[in-house]
Each structure stands twice: as C-alpha cells, then as structure tokens.
Amino acid sequence: MEPNRTVGPSYPDRHAELVKRCQQGERRAQYELYQQYVKAMYNVCLRILNHEAEAEDVLQEAFMDAFSHINSFRGQSTFGAWLKQIVVHRAINHLRSRRLELVDIESHRLGEDDGLDYADTEPYDEDNTLLEVERVRKAMQQLPEGYRVVLSLYLFEGYDHEEIGNVLKISETTSRTQYLRGKKRLLELL
C-alpha cells in the first residue's frame, strides 16, 4: 500500500487534531472524522463485498472498531490508511465467513453488450469518462468473487501482491495470477 495515499481531502494537520480529540473521547470529533471518510470507505466495502446491506454492516463495525481502538493509532501512517486497513480486514473477514474460495470456477455471464468500444480512443471528455467508469464498475461487479477482491485491492486500494497475500492468506504468486486472470476477464467484459 502506498502508505501516504489518503482518501478524501487531505488536511493532515486538521486530521491529526481531530484524531487527538477522538482519543480524548470527544464525540463531535468522531463525527467529523466519520464525515470525512465514510463515503470513500463505503465504496471500498461495496467493491469488496458487492452487496449493499453487508457493506453497511461491515462499515458500521469498522468505524466502531476504529473509534474504540483509536488510542492504538500512533500516527505512523495517515489516519485514512489506518482506517482503511480496518475496513478492508473486516470486509475480507466478512467474505471469509461467506466462505470465500479463490477458485477459477465461475459463471461465464456476459453482461449486456454495450456495443461501445473505446479500444484506441482515450476518452478524456467528461461524459465518456463517466460512462467508462460506470462500465468498469459494472464489469467489476460481474467478476467472480476471488477476482473481484484481488482486483479491488490491487487496482483500487493500491495494495501490492505481498500485502494482498497477507490479507487473503494466499501466496504472493497466487495473488499475481489471480490478478492477471481477473484483469483479463475484466477486459473481456469491457
């Protein structure tokens, strides 16, 4: 993980201040931190779990967890990175409770054919980009769970394969192959 990639707007000082107030148990500061991060973290959960209600539950637990253990946060990384670790871990554990298996069995479901192919034109105008974002998101949702998780962590959360291996309790090599296959499948879907 790039330890300094913050999520949301980054006001290092103000956040450090907020974190300090949280450590003294101030509810308002907790709320402000929550406001800063809830949206980004919710989207992290959604990508990993692909299920709104579960994402909501996991997010709730993660925030409670973070606030009740905020004294163990020593500021070696940004608060956002620290929080994200908790969120990701909880999401993965939740998946595991759903019996995540990184296997290659998958329903070969082709999404609706969008018909559009931006193979060579790099879309840089606003609408096309948004459309592409939506398409990538849809394709992600259609991936088999194992691929989806690895791609979420690598592509979106900036984890490297060693870290993914640790989180998912698989080898680095497995993570790599999963990622490559997942990416291939994603591109096919696109």
């Binding site: 330890p3 907790q30 919710y42 997010l59 967890d65 070696q76 908790i86 909880r90 974002v133």
Partner: protein, 202 residues
C-alpha cells in the same frame, strides 16, 4: 480499453469510482454502538485488542481485530430481550396466558382458539360501537351471543377433567365459529339498517 490502460484509467479516475452514497442512518447506529461500549479499562486480556501491527504498519497479523467490546451486561440485556420476545411471540401464537388450559390440553388447537377469541372480541367491540345509538338492538344481539358464550364457558370448565379432551376442544372451536358467524350476521343487519336510515332519513 487497452490492457495497459486499465490501471492508468482507474488511477486517473479514482475519485469517480467512489460516488456511491452511504446510508444516512449509519452514524446513528455507530453512535449507539459506541455508547454501549464501556470506556476501555486496562484489563490484561484486553491487550489482545491492542494489536501492535495496527499502528500504521502495513502488515497485519492474521488475527481479526477485536469485537466491539461487549461486556456481560450488554449480553445479559440482549438475552433478556430475546427471551421476552420469544415469550411474546409464543403467546401471540398459542395464547398461553389467555388459554392456559387449552394450551395444556392441546397446543395444536390452542392457536385456533386464540385466533377465534381474538376475532370475537374485535367483532364485539365493533358491534357495540355500531349500536351505540340503538341500545335495544344491542341488548337483543348480546342476549343471543351470551347464550353461546355461556355454553362455551361450561365446555371450557369441563375441559380439565374430561377424558376426551380433543372432542371437547373441537366442540369449543365449533362454538367459537358459531359466535363468529352470528356476529357477522348481526353486523350485516346493522349495516343494512344504517344504510336504510341513511337513504330515507326520517
């Protein structure tokens, strides 16, 4: 989209991917959860929760980060609530408190009995309300109903010492059904009377 472009695309448009709005009531839930938690005391076993690798280090052990710290009081109140809920549910279903002897004799029929008696109570209330302006009529109706009610009560009284309980309960249920039919009939009559006075006001 070209293969090597995917990573760049995601990186360049990372913000756009985070556009789903979290639910509004989430903070309330979190706040509730935090309020339930005890301020952390330093018990030796609490050290388990102090995962040192959480201090911003990239590695996390394989251990799950702690539970929200539920203490026994929370657990106890949850248990009490669950028990109370279960009791109310069973009561709703079998009406143990309303029909203890029937439940004891035959739980299978108890539910039916409870449902009917409840229906009868409702309909009686309705009847009373509909005939407010006509007490004579209500009296008449009530007499018929009370007759059925009496025979039901005597059946019920026989229940504990009767050897053939199932038969008796079936008789009780039949009686209740009669009461319901009678009530329905009476309500219909009132309805008709009301309609007529409505159409031809005296």
């Amino acid at each position: 989209m070209k293969k090597d472009n995917l990573e760049r695309f995601v990186r360049d448009n990372r913000e756009a991917f985070d556009d789903k709005e979290p639910p509004n009531n989430l903070w309330q839930k979190i706040e509730l959860g935090l309020d339930k938690e005890q301020p952390e005391k330093e018990f030796p076993f609490r050290q388990i929760h102090k995962d040192p690798s959480l201090n911003g280090g990239a590695r996390l052990g394989s251990r799950q980060i702690g539970w929200p710290l539920l203490d026994w009081r929370v657990a106890a109140s949850i248990a009490v609530l669950l028990l109370a809920g279960a009791f109310l549910y069973m009561n709703q279903k079998y009406g143990v408190t309303h029909q203890p002897d029937v439940v004891a004799a035959s739980p299978m029929y108890a539910k039916e009995v409870v449902q009917y008696t409840r229906l009868i109570d409702d309909k009686r209330a309705e009847l009373k309300q509909m005939t407010e302006d006509n007490p004579a009529l209500y009296q008449e109706f009530a007499t018929d109903l009370d007759r059925l009610e009496k025979s039901y009560t005597s059946l019920k009284a026989d229940l504990p010492q009767n050897p053939n309980q199932e038969m008796l309960i079936q008789a009780m249920i039949q009686n209740l059904q009669l009461q319901i039919n009678l009530l329905n009939e009476q309500l219909r009559v009132i309805q008709r009377i009301k309609q007529q006075t409505h159409e031809n006001p005296v």
